[in-house]
């Protein structure tokens, strides 16, 4: 009689936090399942076929700026407003300058030149990070290039 009454604790009471400790695993599972059911029942979803947006190769664009290379809308002529004239040059030159830059970038430094430069740079930078004592090991040759000397100072035994 007493045992029967014990099992008849209400579900809401069993769900409370302080009751969780004493519960056995079976009733715990049962409660969890019920909770899940409630959540999934309350979950809303649209009864629609899954939308599959195909990747399109057409892009929409409503601006004329992209289509026609329009100039900047503020202009001044024959020195009426020097500020605007300066701005005009700056804004309208943008497109042309970019094109010129692209060409020059390629011709700026060749790979060989780069390699030659870094060859000497190794010593220069190495000197920067060397300690003061070791700095003497770096020696300038006739070209002014700095090269590390591999020979380290050794203790020389005095002669008798």
């Amino acid at each position: 009689m007493a045992a029967e009454r014990k099992t008849k604790l209400s579900k809401n009471l069993l769900r409370m936090k302080f009751m969780q400790r004493g519960l056995d695993s079976e009733t715990k599972k049962q409660l969890e399942e019920e909770e899940k059911k409630i959540i999934s029942e309350e979950h809303w979803y649209l009864d629609l076929p899954e939308l599959k947006e195909k990747e399109s190769f057409i892009i929409e664009e409503q601006s004329f700026l992209l289509c026609e290379d329009l100039l900047y809308g503020r202009m001044s002529f024959r020195g009426f407003n020097p500020e605007v004239e300066k701005l005009m040059l700056q804004m309208n030159a943008k497109n042309q300058v970019e094109e010129v830059e692209e060409e020059t970038v390629e011709l700026d430094v060749s790979d060989e030149e780069m390699a030659r430069r870094y060859e000497t740079l190794v010593g220069t930078i190495g000197k920067k990070f060397a300690k003061k004592r070791d700095r003497a090991n770096y020696e300038e040759d006739e070209n002014g290039d700095i090269k590390p000397i591999k020979t380290r100072k050794m203790f020389l035994k005095p002669q008798d």
Binding site: F57, L65, D69, R74
Partner: protein, 275 residues
């Protein structure tokens, strides 16, 4: 029987949708469907039966095509929404289909993100100004969207002032929003347009013609008098010259340019240069 019906339907579709390449620089009408070069061989008038065999039909690069103003994408189809000439620009670099758009003649302005326009301040309310740009709705302009403006240091803008600004928000569902600074916070010529001068309206097509990089009209106008001029993509032009008379002459010339041939224009400019 079913096959015959399919062929008929196909030929009908082929008749209605014209290839974009074929109608370049020609007049297109709203509702028309255009076929891009990529779609031509599949859906062209010839149908599937007579399609010539292509070695690299599958491997062909599908460059992205941009459809500009006057065109609309509807799924995989390209529809015309404005009446005018179909234009095309080759892609600048790399592979792509370039840009297609319709060069239409219209007076009504619809705000577009990124456009530079001239607006008139109609109201000051708290943090924002209401600016009339000629669209269906006034645009809003925050007082912080000026160069050097802070909460303490408000820009000096009065009702009735002319504003040269840029749209940052412009779509069919929301109120358009303007700013007078670029992404770096600099004015770059935007902000309140100076005193005096004359504001008038022209068609949107004329504005684009005047702003084209190789526009003869503007070069000739520039030789006449010392002048300052501001073009808004919303069809508004503001001009200012040394005297009121010169300003009026300039405004009349620019308005008349809409319907003048090159010869007529040259005559007028030579007559003005003499006087």
């Amino acid at each position: 029987m079913a096959a015959a019906a399919a062929v008929v339907a196909e030929s009908l579709a082929g008749y209605r949708a014209r290839a974009a390449r074929a109608v370049l620089e020609q007049v297109v009408l709203p509702g028309e469907e255009l076929l891009l070069p990529e779609q031509e061989d599949g859906e062209g008038p010839g149908g599937t039966g007579e399609r010539p065999l292509r070695l690299n039909a599958g491997a062909r690069s599908r460059g992205r095509v941009v459809c500009g103003p006057g065109l609309r994408r509807c799924g995989d189809r390209l529809l015309v929404t404005k009446c005018g000439r179909l234009r095309h620009k080759e892609p600048g670099s790399g592979s792509g289909g370039g840009v297609y758009w319709v060069d239409s003649q219209q007076k009504r302005y619809v705000p577009v993100k990124g456009d530079h326009v001239i607006g008139i301040v109609t109201a000051k309310s708290g943090d924002i100004f209401k600016v009339d740009v000629g669209g269906s709705e006034p645009a809003s302009l925050s007082y912080l969207a000026f160069e050097g403006a802070t909460k303490r240091n408000r820009p000096n803008v009065q009702v009735g002032d002319l504003i040269y600004g840029q749209f940052v928000v412009a779509n069919k569902d929301m109120e358009p929003e303007m700013v007078c600074i670029d992404s770096c916070g600099r004015a770059c010529g935007m902000g309140v347009i100076g005193q005096d001068g004359l504001l008038f309206k022209v068609t949107l097509g004329l504005i684009r013609r005047l702003l084209a990089p190789d526009c003869e009209i503007l070069q000739e106008v520039g030789k006449l008098y010392p002048l300052e001029i501001v073009f808004g993509m919303n069809g508004r032009i503001w001009v200012k010259a040394k005297t009121i008379q010169q300003t009026l002459i300039l405004a009349n010339i620019l308005e008349a340019c809409e319907h003048m041939t090159a010869d007529q224009r040259k005559q007028i400019f030579s007559r003005l240069a003499e006087s």
